[in-house]
């Protein structure tokens, strides 16, 4: 059985079921509140959720038991020199060392926890980047949405921010530098594209078995890096559109990636009224449409950046994604066939297998 944590505009829904059939809602938390992201730390079983109340501000909550009360984490604050308070929390990612977690948020901030998520501290080196006054947010805010750790090496981390590009560290976050070479922002004037740091990365993932390889879904572009994020190569040929938000990789296959193309930045819906996931197994040299079982007529869905996940690997890789329509779709065979896991939920912000 698979457990899904579905963060929605109106709370967290926990779904349970087997790949191939509908899932049941087994619990709900934070009713009425936007849940941007929820995950389970596989090392200790702890559930963590990013909740951004329109009234009471962004918080992280955690629990070790879904039937028990969620606890509010401490320390998620910006320093006094910040122009604005913390706006939103977008992701939580386990680090490579025990009980160490990262959380990314807006405005372009990284938090770390060394007690399994109960308390957090701002990463000061990233906060104090000298170019920060020149940073620009994307439409969803200046969100740090992707944190790619390096298996076995806690010092090497890559971050991605909309719209401040890719950042790299080799000293565990004490110093940071850009990793943007090759990213091509068509939304900027041509003469400004070369040197800009206004780079709107929508999602980034590292291949765990070949960690120098990373994939990016960009704001108009899909890219691969084979040198740990130093340089990027377009791999968008063969896709119906290079615009989209989420991305998933098969953790057992460094040549794999899955994207869900949308028409364009001015029409963020599935192309031609068909919902299709596109898969590459040759590192982006070619793409295959995967839509068997997905809506194929009059279906204009929007899938947000955290609303696509995988579980397992290989031919039985499970894939799940949710749309702002409130539908959640799944595949138990690495995308070859799909089923409807849930429908009629509030707009889906995030999907993660627990």
């Amino acid at each position: 059985m698979t457990q899904l944590l579905v963060g929605t505009k109106k709370g967290l829904f926990v779904l349970e079921g087997d790949a191939g059939g509908p899932f049941a809602i087994t619990s709900r938390a934070f009713a009425g509140e936007p849940v941007e992201f929820a995950t389970r730390d596989g090392r200790n079983g702890r559930y963590l959720a990013c909740v951004t109340s329109a009234f009471y501000g962004p918080k992280i909550f955690y629990t070790d038991d879904l039937s028990a009360e969620w606890q509010q984490a401490a320390g998620l604050e910006l320093p006094e020199d910040a122009e604005k308070p913390l706006e939103r929390l977008w992701t939580i990612v386990p680090a490579e060392d025990d009980d160490h977690l990262f959380a990314g948020g807006a405005p372009g901030v990284l938090f770390e926890s060394h007690d399994a998520g109960a308390s957090w501290e701002l990463n000061k080196a990233f906060w104090e980047q000298p170019t920060r006054p020149d940073w620009s947010p994307g439409a969803g805010g200046m969100c740090m949405h992707s944190i790619a750790t390096w298996p076995g090496d806690p010092k090497r981390i890559a971050l991605a921010i909309s719209a401040v590009g890719v950042w790299l560290t080799e000293d565990g976050g004490q110093s940071w530098r850009h990793g943007n070479k090759g990213l091509y922002p068509r939304y900027m004037p041509e003469e400004a594209r070369e040197d800009t740091i206004d780079l709107c990365v929508h999602n980034m993932h590292r291949a765990p078995t070949q960690p120098e390889r990373l994939f990016i879904q960009f704001h108009g572009g899909v890219y691969r890096s084979d040198d740990a994020g130093e340089t990027w190569t377009s791999i968008a040929d063969g896709l119906p559109s290079d615009f989209g938000f989420p991305m998933v990789i098969d953790p057992g296959d460094p040549d794999s990636a899955y994207v869900i193309p949308l028409v364009a930045d001015l029409d963020r819906t599935t192309p031609e009224g068909k919902v299709r996931v596109y898969e590459t197994r040759d590192a982006g040299a070619s793409w295959t449409a995967r839509g068997d079982g997905l809506p194929s007529e009059d279906a204009y869905l929007t899938i947000l950046r955290q609303a696509f996940c995988g579980e397992g690997s290989g031919p039985s890789l499970e894939l799940y994604f949710g749309a702002t329509s409130g539908d959640v779709f799944g595949s138990g065979d690495a995308g070859k066939s799909w089923f409807t896991a849930a429908a009629n939920l509030p707009p889906v912000h995030s999907v993660r297998a627990a």
């Binding site: 329109a54 009234f55 009471y56 501000g57 910006l78």
Partner: protein, 86 residues
């Protein structure tokens, strides 16, 4: 002392109390006193910079209050989420 009236979920964070007497000469001072007495409230009404969150209204008796609005011992402060959202 001024009286602060809270609704859920804030009242739950304040130990289940919907009405509290708290010291202070301004709205900010009274709300800081609330945070000191009930630390779980910290960050929910005032942000980390001491500003009233954008979508929270604090009424002093019948009038909208700001952080620096004066408060007298006979006043009542109502903390109410704004009529907003979707």
């Amino acid at each position: 002392m001024p009286v602060v009236r809270l609704r859920a979920p804030l009242s739950e964070l304040a130990g289940g109390k919907r009405e509290l007497e708290l010291d202070g000469a301004t709205v900010a001072e009274v709300l800081k006193a609330l945070e000191r007495e009930h630390p779980d409230v910290r960050g929910w009404i005032l942000d980390e910079h001491g500003a009233i969150r954008e979508h929270i209204n604090v009424f002093v008796n019948r009038e909208y209050g700001q952080e620096d609005t004066s408060v007298s011992p006979a006043d009542q402060l109502h903390v109410i989420p704004a009529i907003s959202g979707g």
